[in-house]
Symmetry: D2
Subunit: 283 residues, 4 copies
């Protein structure tokens, strides 16, 4: 398809929208969707996402990128074009709990997650069958606190070999080292099973039960080196009451985790998310 | 303040965004918020709302409007500018149930509804005190099925005298004639106490109770000549269960009605709503 | 396990709770959960659901039922005991759209739907593989408006052969005849893809799109002979806006349908639902 | 009216429901609503709330209480009867932000909060007029960190003088000392402007903004000596996105705070809440 997306951020100033839209018009592109946000019209940062259609984009695209450099440099922009014919390549990391993986596979099969699902890596064998039955390579890499460096080395080699753009931690339950994270900035999406910043860290449902909350939630976020402190992409909650024990909370939570993670991944794949400082702008 | 808004619709075609944003740039305006939507990039209708800031807008504004005509005619646009220093003038129609009126007055007092609240008209005396205590003119016009023409004549005279731009039916409970409606196209907002199109017409809570629904709702919409069939602006619902009798439904419903109507009015006052055919685009 | 449930309804009058709880106490049962509802303390109908645990229930159960008849007759009760060791036997009817089937199979596999899933019947072959891979018998019975009597004859024979207690229409998309419905009163659960009573009948998402609603929903209900008019068990909604076309509505709707149907089925399997006139009491 | 409520908790064991319901039957009471919960059928704690109607309850009530002591002692119950003719006496503490106070006054006027609203205490004069216009005594007691002991002494004297049963902190913004709290165990309801345990302490909206959460919430809880750590009664949330600045969060938050506090107060007044350890059971 002839679709492209342009993401921009720069210091806010008059004339950005005019310059960019005029540029796209002259390339023969028709703007389908355009979103913008400024942290502050005076001295703030300006963000923009444009989705456009352009006849013969495949042939034109390197040209378009080249031509854009002039505007970009005028306004001091950080920017990137993506083209819908170039699918992002995704790896899923999973552990024993498979509900998030299943949801992602399902949405992928039904065409709702448009990505090249390149491989699944797990420290358990539980999901091998379901993954391989879909023709997706599965790698079993046992992981624990002791062997983290070797495990991550293997994982990073696989990610490189498969040219991965996005890593989804679908309840992977292992902490990644700064080395690993540094190689994939804003490319690792995790699902945490609480409405952050409540219940950072381990065993959130047990702690939610102890605290007697009336809502439980889940949070998808980009992974940074601060545990559960990365930029939040999406959150949701459901009501619970005193009758729910820890197992009930986990069960209710699973359905929240599934949908929250799937939405975050979808937005990432559609280039709708810009990370600014430790927050996300979701267009 | 130096804020303005521009609303546009026209046949979709390349170059609209470029032309409009270039125009605003040349008038010295900085775009604060911009939203657009196309029913179909090929042969669809294109809609756009831009909020901008412009030094000395008060002096420039007739000039800006004049200058825009050229672009507008090139693209065959319907368009309008509004300027935040020109407050919309609002009339509230209310009957015996005052919860929606109270919510609107409250939001207006706390600065969340930015409008010139010019008068309140009721067919009952219940709210006179609360309205007059805020310094808002109150008119008591008894209304029923028999005297509708005379009543509407009086009402229309008041609306004209007070130069009203927006009429809010805050549970007014009287049907307006086509004559009345025709004079205020897309300027009358009603709150209907069901999630339309369920329970069109009278006594929706009673019918919701009979049907045994598990959700009750409210809908704000522009008034047209088809009862409860006008363009929907906003809807919301709350859960109910078998224990709720009709009175409980009404009580729960009141809090939905309050917030749904207040949101719709706010969006109208901020020029966020475009009516297209029988639907709304809410930017 | 030694769990049982008792469902009761009768004319409301003093002493019911005392008599029933005293009875269970004397049988050696410990009440785990008890819910009650009266349409009106004076001359209303009283409903009660008790879940209890009782040592050696398997041996005692026919005795318990026999002994209860005296109380039942004193108060003029309709009543039934169910015992958790006797699983309900379920049939799923499905057509081409498999999301509801998948959700049910998934919840069943993970132990959240406790039932004997006896067979799946479809008028298409799409789901054969997924069903048979779980060891569940699959029957392909092509159905259309013309061959309805023969189709239903086959279906009814299968339901009888498999001793089915519950029929789930997981987007089956065929209308059942009164003959069929009459044989399974309050035993057929359908999922309708709108928040009833809005958009009764065919193509609800298309009509929701036309009407421009801001919420779409789904409704699970018992099937009666009035299309989409049976007792509502559960409903839910999600927000949509002007950008959603019919395909987007369908996609969003699928996730509502999945969870609404799964909840309704779960409550039925746990004997939490009592049908009274055309409404449900869900304990 | 002839309504009463009985709240019970004791070690779980067979026969409790039978004994209590038989007792009420013999007093001539008809059970309108009955709820129960056990932390664990084996060795857990059992909780029960019964609402009943009883002809001539006013005359009988001391008798009923006296007679119940035998059962209570058999099962080792903590218990209390309340009678709807004896209204709870309520004090509201408020500071400068009046939205929660307004909501409570409104619900009280419309008959949704059934209590004897005895007085309002504030450390500011803002709400005097609105409170006194409803005929409710208003006390202005300036409070700050320095004069806390004297302030609380005054407040406690007023609470005693007015025989207050329930204290509502409707955004009071002052910390109460252990002395104050100790005199009103489980009788002080606070509204905290975040979904606890996220953002305990001061300036939650500012911190929610910093963290970039996609949901903001409010929590009503009983006040204990651990700041924002008391038993949670009710919570709710609303969605926000990157466009919301701190002021927008506060504005959205106000509507959540209003409804969450009003629900918690209503449940308390209806004796629906039992505090167990640091959690609530809400029947």
């Amino acid at each position: 398809k002839n679709r492209g997306r342009l993401l921009i951020n720069c210091a806010d100033q008059p004339g950005i929208v005019a310059a960019v839209s005029d540029f796209l018009y002259k390339q023969g592109a028709n703007i389908l969707e355009s979103s913008q946000y400024s942290t502050d019209p005076k001295e703030g940062t300006f963000f923009m996402r444009i989705e456009f259609e352009c006849e013969g984009l495949k042939e034109k695209k390197s040209n378009v990128e080249e031509n854009f450099k002039e505007i970009a440099s005028t306004f001091g922009m950080e920017w990137s074009f993506t083209f819908s014919e170039e699918l992002k390549r995704t790896a899923i990391f999973v552990s024993k709990e498979l509900h998030c993986l299943r949801e992602l596979l399902w949405e992928w099969q039904s065409g709702d997650l448009i990505t090249d699902l390149a491989l699944v890596i797990s420290n358990h064998e539980e999901c091998r069958e379901i993954v391989e039955s879909l023709g997706i390579p599965f790698y079993y890499i046992p992981a624990n606190k002791e062997n983290r460096p070797q495990v991550e080395k293997q994982q990073l080699e696989l990610l490189e070999k498969y040219e991965i753009d996005l890593i989804i931690l679908a309840r992977y339950m292992q902490i990644l080292t700064p080395t690993f994270v540094a190689q994939h900035p804003n490319q690792i999406i995790n699902i945490h099973h609480s409405f952050l910043p409540a219940f950072v860290g381990a065993r959130p449902y047990e702690r939610a039960y102890q605290r007697g909350v009336k809502l439980i939630g889940a949070t998808s976020h980009y992974v940074t080196n601060d545990l559960d402190e990365g930029p939040i992409i999406e959150q949701d909650i459901m009501r619970v009451d005193h009758r729910a024990d820890v197992d009930s909370l986990k069960k209710i939570g699973r359905s929240i985790e599934r949908s929250v993670l799937a939405r975050a991944v979808k937005w990432h794949l559609e280039d709708r998310i810009i990370v600014h400082q430790n927050k996300t702008i979701v267009f």
